[in-house]
Each structure stands twice: as structure tokens, then as C-alpha cells.
């Protein structure tokens, strides 16, 4: 099956679920509510708390999952407890199940059929390796040869290789390709985010769907250095857990791909990668007046 197209209206929460399951959806939904000024992050000592904002704004624009999450925060909760207790996760389970079902129907998550097929291959492969190994062992022993160490090692190696090849990770290969596509498409959103301001200001920023999509695709790490920096600090996972959290990712491996900063700088990687940069790399119809000024 070809990799799915990027939808016209990508769902950040569904993408977060594909990327990292229930916990990532939880982060994504809480972030949406913080952005919409309905939840806020506060700090007491070393602990971070999430709670409803005292003056609640209208909720009509909330999706069902956001509404359910908001309702759960009747009392401020420690951010660490949000995940450990499992109570919020159980509230969100029906929504996550719906995501799971849809993503499996698109074969973006490993389906039960895929797992069954993989298990059958493992069983058949194990039987073949053990069967052949046992046969060879018996032949060797019957001929009085006891140097069977290499045979045993080879059989064990074969079993390990079989298990590795037939692994069924949560996200299918198609799902990984789709995530790569999403990252490529939305990578540039990272550079639209402005430097950090006061954390309190985050709650009253106008809702920016691109920030939510950023979190959906890249995780909360992508909020580092933005007005929502405190959110990512409160909800940061261990670095190994988040795919593409954004640490180090702004230091570009290819020319200008990550360091060209804000949208006010036109693309530098486009000029860089062009072998024939002699004419306008921007402003292709520039005539005698010159692109970008007269050089004075």
C-alpha cells in the first residue's frame, strides 16, 4: 500500500497517538487546553500542577476528547500524577480506541493480522531451525561426534535473527513512513515559534493550530524556547522516549534546513542545494531592477 497522503485537516491528537500512544495524546490534549486558555500550569516548589483556569471561557470549540479531559481536571493535578495514576488515561480510552481502530484500518499501526502472520512465521521458522538442528545433532551424535558447539551457536543465532526480523513494533513500516512524511511537511513550523516569553502569557495567546500540530507531530520537546517552554519542561519525557523532540534538531545537518530561523528569512537551503545559483534563486522574474534591492 502506498504511504497515505497528508490529510487536508490533520488531527494533531490522532498523530500524537500514532507517534506515542495514550500518553502522547494526553500531552497533546492538555496542551490544546492550555493554548485555549482553559487549563494552566502552575508550580509549587519543585512540583508542576495542571488545573482549570478560574475564569472558564466558552467550550463550544472543544472536541469531545478535549472536553472530557477538561472535565477531568476538577482539581489541580501534579503533572507527574497525570500519567502515573492512569485515571485520565481510562477517561480517554474510548477516544484512543477509536484512533487505534482507524490507524489499524490504514495499516499505520501493526494489526492483529500482521502480528498473527509474524507469529506463524516465527513458529514455522523456529520449528525449521530446531528441527534441522536436532536432526544434525542426532546425526553427529550417532557418528560419535561431540563437537556440536558451533551447531548450537548457529541455531541460537538463527532463532535470534528470526525474532528480530519478525518483530512487530507498534507502528508499522507504513506508519513510520507516514510519520516521516508528516515530519518533513511540518518541520518548518518549528521555526515559526517565537522565543520564550513569560509563562503566564502562554495562557492568553491566541490559539495557534500550528503549535498544536507541532506538538502532535514532534512532541512537547518542540516547544522548547517558545512561549510554551514551561509546558514542555513540565511534561517532558525522557529523551529516548520521544521521537523527534526537537533537541538538537534545529542544528541542521543539511544547509539551512534547520537554522534558517524564522519565516522572515527566505530559504537558504534552496540556494545552497542549487548548483546553478547564478540567477535569482528567489524572484525568478527579476529583471533589471534587481531582486531585493539595488545593492547600495
Amino acid at each position: 500500500m502506498p504511504t497515505p497522503m497528508i490529510p487536508h485537516d490533520p488531527d494533531p491528537h490522532e498523530i500524537a497517538y500514532l507517534r506515542g500512544g495514550e500518553n502522547e495524546v494526553t500531552r497533546s490534549v492538555i496542551f490544546a487546553l492550555v493554548q485555549k486558555g482553559l487549563l494552566q500550569i502552575s508550580q509549587q516548589g519543585k512540583d508542576h500542577f495542571v488545573g482549570q483556569v478560574a475564569e472558564q471561557k466558552e467550550r463550544r470549540s472543544l472536541s469531545p476528547i478535549e472536553r472530557r479531559t477538561l472535565d477531568w481536571f476538577t482539581q489541580p493535578q501534579k503533572t507527574s500524577e497525570v500519567f502515573h495514576s492512569g485515571a485520565l488515561a481510562s477517561q480517554l480510552k474510548p477516544f484512543c480506541s477509536a484512533y487505534e481502530q482507524r490507524l489499524k484500518s490504514e495499516q499505520l499501526l501493526t494489526t492483529d493480522e500482521m502480528r498473527l502472520r509474524a507469529r506463524m512465521v516465527i513458529v514455522a521458522g523456529t520449528l525449521a531451525i530446531l528441527g534441522l538442528g536436532a536432526y544434525k545433532l542426532l546425526i553427529a551424535l550417532s557418528r560419535g561426534r561431540f563437537n556440536v558447539g558451533f551447531l548450537v551457536v548457529l541455531s541460537v543465532a538463527g532463532l535470534i535473527l528470526l525474532l528480530l526480523v519478525c518483530r512487530t513494533p507498534r507502528v508499522s513500516r507504513r506508519g513510520h513512513e507516514y510519520m516521516e512524511r508528516l515530519r518533513l511537511a511540518f518541520e518548518r513550523l518549528k521555526y515559526g515559534a517565537q522565543p520564550s516569553q513569560q509563562p503566564q502569557a502562554a495562557g492568553v495567546q491566541a490559539f495557534d493550530p500550528s503549535m498544536l500540530l507541532l506538538v502532535g507531530v514532534f512532541g512537547v520537546g518542540a516547544l522548547a524556547g517558545t512561549p510554551y517552554d514551561s509546558f514542555q519542561q513540565s511534561f517532558r519525557r525522557g529523551a529516548a522516549g520521544d521521537a523527534g523532540t526537537g533537541t538538537g534538531s534545529s542544528c541542521g545537518s543539511s544547509c539551512g534546513s534547520s537554522d534558517s530561523s524564522s519565516s522572515s528569512d527566505s530559504s537558504s537551503s534552496s540556494s545552497c542545494s542549487s548548483s546553478s545559483g547564478s540567477s535569482c534563486s528567489s524572484g525568478s522574474s527579476c529583471g533589471g531592477g534587481g531582486c531585493g534591492g539595488c545593492g547600495s
Binding site: 521555526y191 515559534a193 517565537q194 522565543p195 520564550s196 524556547g225 517558545t226 529523551a239 533537541t247 538538537g248 534538531s249 534545529s250 542544528c251 541542521g252 545537518s253 543539511s254 544547509c255 539551512g256 534547520s258 537554522d259 534558517s260 530561523s261 524564522s262 528569512d265 527566505s266 530559504s267 537558504s268 537551503s269 540556494s271 545552497c272 542545494s273 542549487s274 548548483s275 546553478s276 545559483g277 547564478s278 535569482c280 534563486s281 528567489s282 527579476c286 533589471g288 531592477g289 534587481g290 531582486c291 531585493g292 534591492g293 539595488c294 545593492g295 547600495s296
Partner: protein, 204 residues
Amino acid sequence: MGLVEVQRTLARIYTDAELRERFFGDPLNVGREIGLSAEESSNLAQMSAAQIKTFADSLYGKRLLGVGKLLAMTRRTLGARFDAHFRRFAAAPVQGGTPQYLDDAMKFATYLENSLCEERVGSGWTLDLLRYEKARLKAADPKRRVVAAYFRHDISRLVRSVARKEEPPTVVKRATVALWVRSKPHGPVRYSAFSAPSLFGRGK
């Protein structure tokens, strides 16, 4: 006058300030020098020198714009000093007309690095930023497999901070080595930075 000759002459006049000035100062003699007949020289001399200069200036403007994009963070950090240095750099005539952006940027980066070292003005982190952008340009060459660069500052944090336009930028003095590695020619590049005393995370 044949179109080939017209275009060849125009290309030289547009891109060579010294030739342009001499030609409009003495069209017949300079024209003869570059292989034009008297009639051809007079025809071309009818063009507005001011308009040609405006066009030539726009070529310079494009060079500055192109190079400025490839060394975007350095340009933003140095501001007018970057433009002033480029003006001096671009005053030197270039064989073959307007250079391609990448070559131009690489050469200017080397020129600027030497100039900034001589000036010894300001903090060394600007120099590190320039060296980073220069190394990144080198790494953009699809045929290059490895590019390594040494920095006196934690370059990953500095670049991230400058890219996000933080004021002031995050400057941490920590010896750092950065690597850009392609596993095969024309393959994707992986970037890693290692800072003393602790190893920093890998990036892409």
C-alpha cells in the same frame, strides 16, 4: 553588430566594474581592446551608463542577498558589519562573472573569518557561529562524506538560541566538536555534536 558580440560585451560590462568605468570613459579605445569595432563601441556607448550601473548594482545586491541567506545567522548577528565586509570582499573582480551562491558564500566565509580574527572585536562566539555555518555549507556538498569542526562554545545550544532569535543568545563556553557525516555520497547527512566535559545528544 552581431548579437553574440553584443551579449558578450554586455556580460563583461555588467560584471566588471573596472571595465565598465573604463569603457564609458573611453569607448573607442577600450572597445578596441575588447575586440569591438569603432561602430560597435559607439553603439554600445549610447546605452545609459547610469542604467547599466543600476543593473550592475542589482547584481551585487543579489550576491549579498544570496550569501546573506546562506550565512543567515552570522549576518543577523553582525548586522551592518557583515554588509560592510561583503562590500570589501565583492570589490575584487571575479573570473567568469557572478559566482554561484555556494562558492561565493564559502569564499566570503573564509574572508570574513580572517577579517574577524584580525579585528579581535567582540566575543568569540560570533566566530564560532560563522565557522558553524561555513562547515554546514561544506557538508551540503553531496559528494563530501565527513565534515568536522571545532568550536570553543557549545555550538548546538548557541545555534538553537540564535535561530530562535533569543536576546541575548545562549552562550556556553565549552569545547565542542561537530561532525556532519554522510554514510554514502549523495546520502542523507547526520549531524552530531560532542561537548566536553559531558557528551551532548545526537541531532539530525
